[in-house]
Amino acid sequence: EHHQTYELSIPPGTHIQYTLPPLFFYKPNLWWPNGMGKQFLYNVEISVDVKGFGESDSWDHQFGFRKIESTIDITTGGRLFKVNGQRVFIRGGNWILSDGLLRLSDKRYMTDIKFHADMNFNMLRCWGGGLAERPEFYHYCDLYGLLVWQEFWITGDVDGRGIPVSNPNGPLDHDLFLLCARDTIKLLRNHASLALWVGGNEQTPPKDINSALMNFLKLHPLFKSYAEKSDLGEDSS
């Protein structure tokens, strides 16, 4: 039941987006943050065969089934996180990058992230003035159960703060910012550890950027309608 084939025809020179029918899982092994359970990951492989050619392309990814929710607590103003319905006490660290000369080897990421897991952390916050972290960083956060709070690139350098006062309206080219943001979301969105996107460091980005980011990060409409059509009682975030 977890191996499905779909036939489709693609016109010459075209680019399409295809939505596969959902795959059903009964009691899947869930992915949990460090300290709450195993970080169970399934291997998802997608390939496309072309008639008269054979396998044309393939892709694979280690995917974790988990549901992450977060809300602002009105009493404390703090953000509360739930993973798979269970409240999580966040023990987090601030992350800028692994190395100032960007010598970001696989081994270095593995060592750094395992170190944070060994310290009993369960979240890393990637500050907006540092990197949108790389897939290797997320891979090891998936493996070791570190939730990731990923910020976009807005800091005191682009929000009117600082001495001298910075440009209050974000980077000069908002379209370029959004192009990079959209591409970064596509690069990282499938990782189980990715818990929260944040517009920038301790503030919201300029209005046009913020509303565009919120739009990019909406749930796929087909997923939403699927959940609404279902009469199975529970919502799906």
């Binding site: 998802v44 044309s56 000369l101 699927y226 199975l232």
Partner: protein, 262 residues
């Protein structure tokens, strides 16, 4: 014939300061390729930054020891040209009839010009942007290919006030790049502002139809007893004919060694 899939281009790179190279990108990738790591060319750190390359060749002191960062020329004083570098490599690939090849840069800081076998492509600005170039028609049929990339630093590298301060003069924030490089309370300024081909470079060979940017989402019902995996995927048919395709998805759970549960 090239096998399908991705090959990383992470070794054999050379680099040189652009002001010290007289040849053009077209010449570097046709008639005048560098012969090896002899001046002005040096072994390059790719993926990596210009400072990483200079440190690898012991041309700067290690900025993370003592006050040695002070001995490295800051881009505000040197000008952007000083940290504008050529990167060069060769690779071999021979393609079969219906195969397609893309040259991929997962991130360059901050902008660049790519030359492959004499053909020029301009890369968009932005530190956090993937670039994927269709190079099917410009790969050399005899298998040897010359690749040169001219990498420019951020447009607004900024200056560091003598008294220091968080984010220098904040000019770096005008670009879509890391901002810590102008120096913060926990970090000295990075002299080249992290200019370079700082993330993976690869060649991907596919058939006529290419997959990109799959999106996986799970939804849960009945207290996590039932779950659905929702998937979308982009497909691009680069051929001149209708492609009849089978799209296959398979989800496995590793059990032990080579065994998996399907």
């Amino acid at each position: 014939v090239a096998t399908l899939g991705k090959t990383k281009l992470d070794s054999g790179w050379l680099a040189a300061r652009s002001t010290e190279v007289e040849a053009t990108g077209v010449q570097l990738t046709t008639t005048m390729p560098p012969s090896g790591p002899s001046l002005p060319w040096m072994e390059a750190a790719v993926p990596g930054t210009v400072l990483g390359t200079l440190l690898k060749n012991k041309l700067i002191p290690d900025p993370f020891y003592g006050l040695e960062n002070e001995a490295i020329l800051d881009i505000a004083d040197s000008g952007r040209e000083y940290y504008t570098f050529w990167f060069f490599t060769t690779f071999e690939y021979s393609m079969a009839g219906n195969q397609h090849a893309t040259l991929n840069f997962r991130a360059i800081n901050y902008s660049g010009e790519v030359y492959l076998n004499g053909h020029k492509r301009i890369l968009t600005r932005g530190m956090f942007l993937r670039h994927s170039l269709d190079v099917t028609d410009i790969l050399n049929p005899d298998g040897k290919n010359f690749l040169a990339v001219l990498v420019y630093p951020p447009d607004h590298p900024g200056t560091i006030p003598p008294e220091g301060g968080q984010g220098g003069d904040h000019e770096i924030g005008k670009d879509v790049a890391t901002q810590y490089v102008e120096g913060w309370d926990w970090m000295t300024p990075i002299r080249d502002r992290n200019t370079g081909i700082w993330d993976e470079v690869s060649i991907t060979v596919t058939g006529p139809v290419r997959l990109s940017d799959p999106h996986l989402v799970s939804s849960f019902f009945d207290n996590y007893k039932r779950a659905y995996l929702h998937t979308t995927v982009d497909l691009e048919n680069s051929s001149s004919w209708h492609a009849e395709c089978s799209l296959i998805i398979q989800v496995t759970a590793g059990l032990d060694g080579d065994m998996c549960l399907l």
